[in-house]
């Protein structure tokens, strides 16, 4: 079955307002979602790296972020299985990340 990458973007300042109880509830909801049978992999990205490397005048140069205008950053990703792109989107619709104001980008991973 094809695999899809779910890229989870979030505004980290949004979390700050949650109480310990609300954070626990959020963790419970996220973790319940990761127990779904179509889950393949999941990884969190460390928040403390912030450099973009691009070629400037023919030389690669590393510059500090920000990389985009929005406050949202890529926080982590999940890989899931789905029959086709529509099903992948369908399976993502009930992800708690959306309830907490995050954004999810769904991308198909090409197979060899």
């Amino acid at each position: 079955m094809p695999n899809y990458l779910l890229l989870l973007y979030e505004d980290p300042s949004g979390w700050q307002k949650l109480s310990p109880e609300e954070m626990q509830n959020a963790i419970e909801k996220y973790m319940a979602w990761t127990k779904k049978p179509f889950m393949v992999d999941s990884k969190r990205l460390a928040p403390n790296v912030g450099r973009v490397i691009r070629s400037q005048g023919g030389k690669p140069r590393a510059t500090d972020g920000p990389y985009s205008e929005t406050k949202e950053i890529l926080g982590g990703f999940y890989a899931i299985e789905a029959a086709d792109y529509d099903e992948a989107v369908q399976r993502t619709l009930d992800h708690p990340h959306l309830e907490y104001g995050g954004t999810i980008e769904v991308r198909e991973i090409y197979r060899r």
């Binding site: 980290p12 979390w15 700050q16 949650l18 109480s19 310990p20 109880e21 609300e22 954070m23 626990q24 959020a26 963790i27 419970e28 996220y30 973790m31 319940a32 979602w33 990761t34 127990k35 999941s42 990884k43 969190r44 928040p47 926080g75 982590g76 999940y78």
Partner: protein, 421 residues
């Protein structure tokens, strides 16, 4: 007391409780002037859990993980801000030392219990106004947020935030410390802490079905705080009496309403729905409260609740004993609420006529004026005396007062019982 989703992977209220313990631990090391830093550090640790666990999975020991992260982030913050002045190195060394201790080490557990107790006592210090003590205890020792406290007390966030600012100012101005009070000071602080705990419990206990669950969480938190004190070396018989009162009352919470959310009076409650674990806890602490010669209001209240819990049906309740206890309680605290409860016992022992006479002096009590309870009890007694029209007047008037939705529906039911035929 709150419904647990069957998929849950963490203990109920784990974060809230651990927040209190972690703040207590860090506040002792950083000093009470840096409570805010302790809180921020703990918040940061929980945020990190929220950002990593859903992707990397649950750590083997979530509590230990949270502590480690909070300790490291406290070390970073102290180094970064050099907040503690010259003591920076000593503070960092102290936090560092505690990170080396195995989390499950009984000595560390004991240290944490001691830290938590000191924090509770500082939050409940008599130098802080009571409202602020309540808010501070829930925020700092209980891990509630300002928004949650505001919701639980049906107040706006601004008011709660101001109380917290005032409380923290008192801590600085009065130079309150996290040292355990000693001698006569200890008794005063203990009384104050018990008062705060009981206030929190009662606020939660008056909440009803359909209301925000956070209000019932207050009962859980009050019991937890009281148990912390009860299991410490400074526990007095009165502490055990208070835990017993709260445990007995909390045990009845599930039976207080039926499936439709309708209020059920104590006498009509299905006793099989009482929480047996809490009843057992109540008796355990009640037994431990009966030593020494001190008899507090909590003792008398616990004795009343124990008498109810001991009876296996409404018919087997020993009302003369309950009335005697209410007489004793009334002699210690002649509050109108105690008087109303006593009247119900008088009605059982000596009839509704005498009970009615006993509550006459309460008619114009300013504490009861805006409250439905006096009129409801009066109506109840009048109904027992077959004075249907007078009873109906009482229930109609009670409906004009402040009451929750289940209470309103209860009064309407009583009102319909007054109709002839």
């Amino acid at each position: 007391m709150s419904p647990t989703p069957d998929t849950s992977v963490l203990l109920d209220h784990l974060f809230r409780h651990e927040a209190g313990r972690m703040v207590a631990h860090l506040a002792r090391i950083l000093g009470p002037a840096h409570l805010d830093l302790a809180e921020e550090t703990v918040q940061e640790a929980m945020l990190k859990a929220l950002q990593t666990w859903p992707y990397q999975g649950l750590p083997e020991n979530p509590s230990a993980w949270l502590f480690r992260v909070a300790q490291n982030s406290a070390i970073d913050a102290v180094r970064r801000n050099r907040l503690i002045g010259q003591k920076t190195d000593a503070v960092v060394a102290e936090i560092h030392r505690s990170t080396k201790i195995e989390f499950a080490d009984p000595d560390f557990e004991e240290q944490l219990r001691d830290d938590e107790l000191r924090l509770i006592f500082m939050c409940c210090h008599p130098a802080i106004p009571r409202d602020a003590r309540v808010a501070l205890s829930l925020k700092i020792a209980g891990g509630f947020s300002v928004r949650e406290i505001a919701r639980a007390f049906l107040m706006d966030e601004q008011t709660i935030a101001q109380r917290l600012v005032r409380a923290k100012r008192q801590i600085r101005d009065q130079a309150l410390t996290l040292e355990m009070p000693k001698g006569p000071e200890l008794q005063k602080c203990l009384d104050s802490a018990l008062e705060v705990v009981y206030f929190i419990f009662n606020e939660g206990y008056t909440a009803h079905e359909g209301e925000d669950l956070i209000r019932q969480d207050l009962c859980v938190e009050a019991l937890r705080l009281a148990q912390r004190i009860a299991f410490s070396s400074i526990a007095t018989p009165a502490v055990h009496a208070l835990v017993a009162v709260m445990a007995f009352h909390a045990a009845r919470l599930p039976a207080r309403t039926d499936e439709a959310g309708e209020l059920i009076l104590l006498e009509d409650q299905d006793r099989s729905r009482w929480d047996q674990r809490l009843i057992a806890m109540g008796f355990h602490h009640f037994d431990r409260s009966i030593c020494g010669d001190q008899v507090s209001e909590y003792h008398v209240q616990a004795a009343i609740a124990a008498t109810h819990a001991r009876a296996d049906s409404m018919e087997s309740i020993h009302w003369p004993i309950i009335l005697e206890l209410y007489d004793q309680l009334f002699a210690m605290n002649a509050s109108p609420i105690v008087a109303l409860n006593r009247a119900v016992a008088i009605a059982k022992v000596r009839g509704a006529e005498e009970a009615l006479a006993a509550i006459v002096p309460l008619e114009n009590d300013p504490k009861l004026r805006d409250y439905y309870l006096y009129l409801a009890v009066r109506g109840h007694l009048l109904l027992a005396l077959d004075r249907h029209a007078d009873a109906a007047d009482c229930f109609r008037n009670a409906l004009q007062r402040r009451c929750s939705d289940p209470e309103r529906r209860f009064l309407l039911r009583k009102l319909s019982e007054c109709e002839p035929g």
